[in-house]
Amino acid sequence: MAVANPLGIDLDQYKWGFRDPEQYVFKARKGLDRQVVEEISYLKGEPEWMRAFRLHSLEVFLRKPLPTWGPDLSALNFDDIYYYVKPTERQGRSWDEVPEYIKRTFDRLGIPEAERKYLAGVGAQYESEVVYHSLREEWEKQGVIFLDMDSGLREHPDIVREYFGTVVPPEDNKFAALNSAVWSGGSFVYVPEGVHVTIPLQAYFRINAQNMGQFERTLIIAEPGSYVHYVEGCTAPVYTTDSLHSAVVEIIVKEGARVRYTTIQNWSKNVYNLVTKRAVAYRDATMEWVDGNLGSKITMKYPSVYMLEPGAKAEILSVAFAGEGQHQDPGGKVVHAAPYTQSSVVSKSISKSGGRAGYRGLVKVYAGAKGSKCAVRCDALILDERSRSDTYPTMEIDETDVEVTHEATVSKVSDEQLFYLMSRGIDQNEAMNMIVRGFIEPISRELPMEYSVELNRLIALEMEGSVG
């Protein structure tokens, strides 16, 4: 018998609003200055170059203004945030060593579903720190590295130093600079030449401290001809004061390699989710971003792919759901900097109960990138009169020998569709759910099964009470 709650989560625990008592070994003070940054670097025992990188980034952060476009960030108070929280002294080497209360939280999030299958591959960030991270043996034999970023820096300093900050430099934007100054956790993935990682690498993130920022930093290097699918799912408990999540993800996809990066973001409704995600793709390489945004107060996230050599391909799939008080401003950037590069962007946004969701995108084709192709499609579904959708497509095309298409639709759930489903005995609420699920299907079908199920379930939860 199939039921609506396949992961077995007690839905009465509304939207993961539970929380564990805080148990911290170390707790940084609120606010950000040179001393906080030095302290983070010292506690982590980092090499001098990283300390210098952090301090330089801090200067950039302090100098840079907030973005003058996009959602309103004026309520964000940088002095009221913890920039580093460390839950345990050391890293759990096996699942047995992971603290019981953390396991309990994962349990309530339904993570064991994936964990049971991929136990050896789970990397879980909890309270700014990765407490459990191990890798299946066969991958280790293949030379695949999957560590939290702190361990990556410790164990593979040369690789990290070569690539860290090269795709997203601190100067890129204020929040990239902030992350560069105070980053903690995140994943470090290295896939050697020709290696195909067949099972997705999964990481789970969760914020669980009041006024705590989370600044994970992820670096993925795919050597020529390799393949990896990295999956992150985020859920967060509900808090009363504002929280900041500002991550940076850097991906290097070398010749003929393919990387897919999948995210389901469901931060609690008070979180500012300001993330910089960027990949560079070399000759005949493929980069795919699959990005689902449901939670948060404000999300600004524009996964980018810079196609630097001929034959590089980019695919960006994004879905955003904005309910009451939410402003989802996702999108994507594709930069064609070489001939015969191809990109495709598909964006689906849903807004209800006064929420705002939309698409902000850039297509850039440099002169000389002849024979390149780009297709952008953004569809918005607006569920009631109070809600809003915004589309801001920007195209900068400096080459004539290209094919660029842009299609955009804005629709409401049609009465004809609702009536049709209802005429078969399906109640109005479920009929609405079905239409919304169908709307995002081009993206949910790209997700691993349990994420697809979770996405549909989360949307069903958000849709509750949306029809009279």
Binding site: L421, M422, S423, G425, D427, E430, R437, I440
Partner: protein, 278 residues
């Protein structure tokens, strides 16, 4: 009780245009009614009003289904109680597969609770059997609802839904139009099988412009609709006569009666046409 659909003096409009002008008709389980009439006479409006399409407004009259006030029920409630309509122009719903749609619908019809579904195995067995019976390509189950279906595929998909939902009163709104003769035969045979299998527990209202389909589904009663009301009723022979004299012949009789009874309050008739003034 066996299903009974009683329509009394039903008036309904679309936007500002009054389409139904006092339709009266009763369909019981065990009966097959044919409702015929020229384009624009109100046949499809009647079907949509009976299913509760919000696009149509009922002005007056009543409809009782199994003794209850049908017009007070939501469309999904009507369907769960066994009323079905095979639409003339079914809409498409991108991204939702026929299989997931049918499983949800059949579960609702069979009284599963909110968010509960019949088992996948049971559903697949049922779906496979019905698809085979109606000679439909099973690949249809994996396609999105009506998305990219040809006219004929849409009609067959409607009949597939009918077969799976096992209605007690089924309305077929011009299911035969746009089908070639072989497809009409298959659809008609499917409906006849459903009707026979129901053993008197199912009533059918076949709405059609052409008598063709009635060769394969023999109706117990035939009605002709003009200008929003039923102007004549009879047995299967009426369909044959209609085939002979055409709607123009009926229209001439109708106009003759209408002229005679202007202002009067009793039943008149001319040829096959009668007039009941309400």
């Amino acid at each position: 009780m066996d299903a009974e659909l009683v329509i009394r003096d039903l008036w309904a409009q679309v936007e500002d245009k009054v389409i139904l002008k006092g339709t009266t008709l009763t369909v019981r389980a065990g009966e097959i009614h044919a409702l015929m009439g020229p384009n624009g006479s109100g046949k499809s409006t009647l079907a949509n009003v009976l299913m509760g399409n919000p696009f149509y407004q009922v002005q007056r009259g009543e409809v009782l289904y199994k003794g209850e006030d049908l017009l007070a029920m939501s469309p999904d409630e009507r369907a769960r109680k066994g009323l079905f309509i095979a639409f003339q122009y079914p809409v498409s719903i991108p991204g939702v597969t026929m299989a997931s749609f049918l499983r949800t619908a059949v579960s609702a019809r069979r009284g599963y609770g909110k968010d509960q579904l019949m088992s996948l195995a049971e559903f697949q067995k049922l779906a496979r059997a019905k698809v085979e019976e109606l000679q439909i390509d099973p690949a249809i189950l994996g396609r999105y609802i009506n998305e990219g279906f040809s006219g004929g595929e849409k009609k067959r998909a409607e009949i597939l839904q009918m077969a799976m939902l096992e209605p007690e009163i089924a309305i077929m709104d011009e299911t035969d139009s746009g089908l070639d003769v072989d497809a009409v035969k298959i659809v008609a045979a499917g409906v006849r099988r459903m009707f026979e299998a129901a053993g008197g527990k199912m009533g059918v209202l076949v709405i059609t412009h052409y008598p063709r389909i009635l060769k394969y589904i023999t109706p117990t009663q035939v009605h002709v609709m003009f200008d929003g009301r039923i102007v004549t009723s009879g047995d299967a022979e009426l369909a044959d006569e209609l085939d002979r004299i055409g709607y123009d012949g009926i229209r001439a009789q109708y106009e003759q009666v209408a002229a005679e009874v202007a202002g009067e309050g009793e039943v008149r008739s001319a040829g096959k046409v009668f007039w009941v003034r309400h």
